[in-house]
Symmetry: C2
Subunit: 520 residues, 2 copies
Amino acid sequence: MRVTYGLRRAAMLRRNQVAFIDSSERRTWGELLERVQRSAGALQNLGLGDGDFVAILMHNNMTYGELNYSVAWAGGVIVPLNTRLAAPEIVFQLNDAGCKAIVVDDSFVPMLDEIKANSDALKHVIYVGSAEPPEGAHEYESLVSAAEPVADADRSYEDLMSIFYTGGTTGRAKGVMLSHTNVVSNALNGLNALQYASGDVYLHVAPMFHLADAGTTFSVTMGGGQHAFIPGFEPEATLKAIQDFNVTHVILVPTMINMVINHPAVKQYDLSSLKVVIYGASPIPEAVLQKAMDTLPCDFIQGYGMTESAQLVTILPSEDHKHPPGSKESVRLKSCGQPIINTEVQIVDENDSLVPTGEVGEVCFRGPNVMQGYLNMPEASAEALKDGWMHSGDVGYMDDDGYLYLVDRAKDMIISGGENIYSTEVETAIYSHPAVLEAAVVGIPHPEWGEAVHAVVVLKPDQDVSVDELIAHCKTQIAGYKTPKSITFESEPLPKSGAGKILKRDLRKPYWEDEDRQVN
Amino acid sequence: MRVTYGLRRAAMLRRNQVAFIDSSERRTWGELLERVQRSAGALQNLGLGDGDFVAILMHNNMTYGELNYSVAWAGGVIVPLNTRLAAPEIVFQLNDAGCKAIVVDDSFVPMLDEIKANSDALKHVIYVGSAEPPEGAHEYESLVSAAEPVADADRSYEDLMSIFYTGGTTGRAKGVMLSHTNVVSNALNGLNALQYASGDVYLHVAPMFHLADAGTTFSVTMGGGQHAFIPGFEPEATLKAIQDFNVTHVILVPTMINMVINHPAVKQYDLSSLKVVIYGASPIPEAVLQKAMDTLPCDFIQGYGMTESAQLVTILPSEDHKHPPGSKESVRLKSCGQPIINTEVQIVDENDSLVPTGEVGEVCFRGPNVMQGYLNMPEASAEALKDGWMHSGDVGYMDDDGYLYLVDRAKDMIISGGENIYSTEVETAIYSHPAVLEAAVVGIPHPEWGEAVHAVVVLKPDQDVSVDELIAHCKTQIAGYKTPKSITFESEPLPKSGAGKILKRDLRKPYWEDEDRQVN
């Protein structure tokens, strides 16, 4: 099935109900369908369609929601870009996918010169905003107004729907190829767990370039819900949006939940419409959950997944957030839940053999939601996907009741404020400074972001560089959120395994000893 | 995805909850999983697996439910046979599919000699029952006890899961080929519409050889419901089963609903567990629905579909059964509802072009639930499936809100004096007379008008109405040219298919035998 059918069906069944709403506008499903038909016409008028890649570099907005459908409707493939990336990272992704067009909002106009100068395939810049369009850019609303509605290009189920870039263990970002079937299968999985229904309102506050939000988009539309948009996360704006739009469902990572419930104004907003807070990226600390349940009148559901699963792999249902502390079942709060309805999960050892229940191994999953592979990376794809099983790199075990417990991330990933940060990428940036001899990047506890990026560095003999200088250097290479927040310099070589691998566990240990949390 | 995963997941998430129950036994999901592993082992011990066809000829029972999983678990393809067929029809289907084994219960032992003598590929007869097995037959429980549990053969998503024979417009039964993806896609569609949840109990009373029931099997398991079994439909046994098993969901065709609610003992049973009656095969006459809603404390949902859609195409939700009579929306009760979540529906003319909303044409549908084709019938398959669109042969239109109205089955339209007459309209008029229990309208030869409208009617006990009175009543309901020109009263129930559809072909036959024309 293709994602565009979800929209067509919604417009048929709920033509006059609200589809999209933001602080200034609302559109019905009938209006949205017509806009998508014109938006697709506009893209086709620029020669975009039939498998062409269209990048989106915007903060959350209604047009982003529209493009999620219209790029596919035109026959193209959407490439949502992380809004926090540095220009060289954007350029890499545009070139890797061979994007012919990029859609930007005001925030990214200053980057355009660098992007255009370095992106070989880029033919069109489309500007979404109310200012004067940058030179050489098309203005989106004018394109849409001038275009005739076109018919759905009717891409086949197995055609690519989107490319989402994910940070790389290999040091480069990998383009996760998702077909229409992948995305729709995930939408059905999500719908089964969350049952968005007519009258429900989902708030797009999590970034739309991430699958946590993007995957949910298609569930909400298929289920008959309504989409509300705010540009991004800010605690009070989120509270206000919940009140103003009568939001029923919202995705927040635990650090965001923490910021919302501790905001001084939390009691000034009417949050009674809330039904479900979906959280992910990490289990929720018990204290945070307790306060959240006292403050927010709703259910809590955890989702675990990754870009390669088109969003979800497991779900920890709301019931498992309500066991009395100390009860046998309360331990489930430390898990990430049970396999979602149409996705299989298993734990294997290094020989790809199933391990017994309760034993630790690599988390693998398969199902119709599992990606087609990594763009232009046949070897990495073959390594990740064996017999249809996605090898997640995450390390964990399953209990007798099918609850999955993650004990470590094999891929050396740091999760800070809900963003995945791959330490190899940060290390590559640090190593590019001429004074650096050795570098290792680990996650250390952070009260607000869960984890913070910390680097341990050994300098070359007779070389010198300050912490600030090294951080500034990294910022020219990688997104700000990936750069180390702290650096310690060591004079001795870093501890290594017999095989010469840096023992990051030893580097992390002192930071985590006082934490009542699993060492990541 | 494969159907066996639904079972494995259920056994993981709900190991100790009841899976199957009948009048003498109950099994948990954990027990069922183990039995399926052994049953599959037993089949493999007989050399059955890897794409082999295994026919089932039984009335509803727990073992049928088990074989729905174990045949696939062994790697085979299940071929459920209609229990009302004559031996030559059974033989045709066994030979068409090349079935290597047939599983029978006591009722079909008398047919075995004729079946065995004429079925070329048949190697094994497996007997399910407590009597002495017929000569040369294996006894199922002994096979299962003797077998070791085996691993899931792990058929690929696109492998065949089942063959269901459907009555032929071409004069021969056609074997509808359904893949694992087809069946699981339908199960997810059904689950979305009906939301079987933990604690729900579905009663297998509709015949398990039909997809109405068979498709639901996989929805119920995936959703976490429980299966209750009775051998087949009988009004009081159905009432008793609803009470004894705390049934929440049941599928009944309108004629069965009619029999249940008019049964003298209906008030003696506690039916308070019922949540949903799902009905299909035809829209429900308003008078029947009204009485059903007064008698049964539950929602009513209509499903429309066919074997080729692995069950469902559209759903008329319970809300649409509650509009005040005479309201604009109350007309929806005459529709068969809106497209189910992941299946597209469109209406085309004879050139396969879309007709405008509201205009009559052939009902077509596509989606991941649509069959692979008809077994051994490439031409009929190509004719039915064009560009992935199943051409149903049913004639209807869709309104602005996506409601599908069947005006007739393509083969069931009466053309009289150049006017198209849709028999359902005439039947609705006849049913609106309080004395009528059952009615079917067919076209019979007429020297002047080509065809004339003829009705076959069964009256309620102790009721009386004359032909003239009934025709006069119809004239108050519909245009004169649509009213029956002749009526015959029958004292016996009208002939029905296993799914409870009135067999109009049988009613027409005597009138057309002397005609040198195609029987309509």
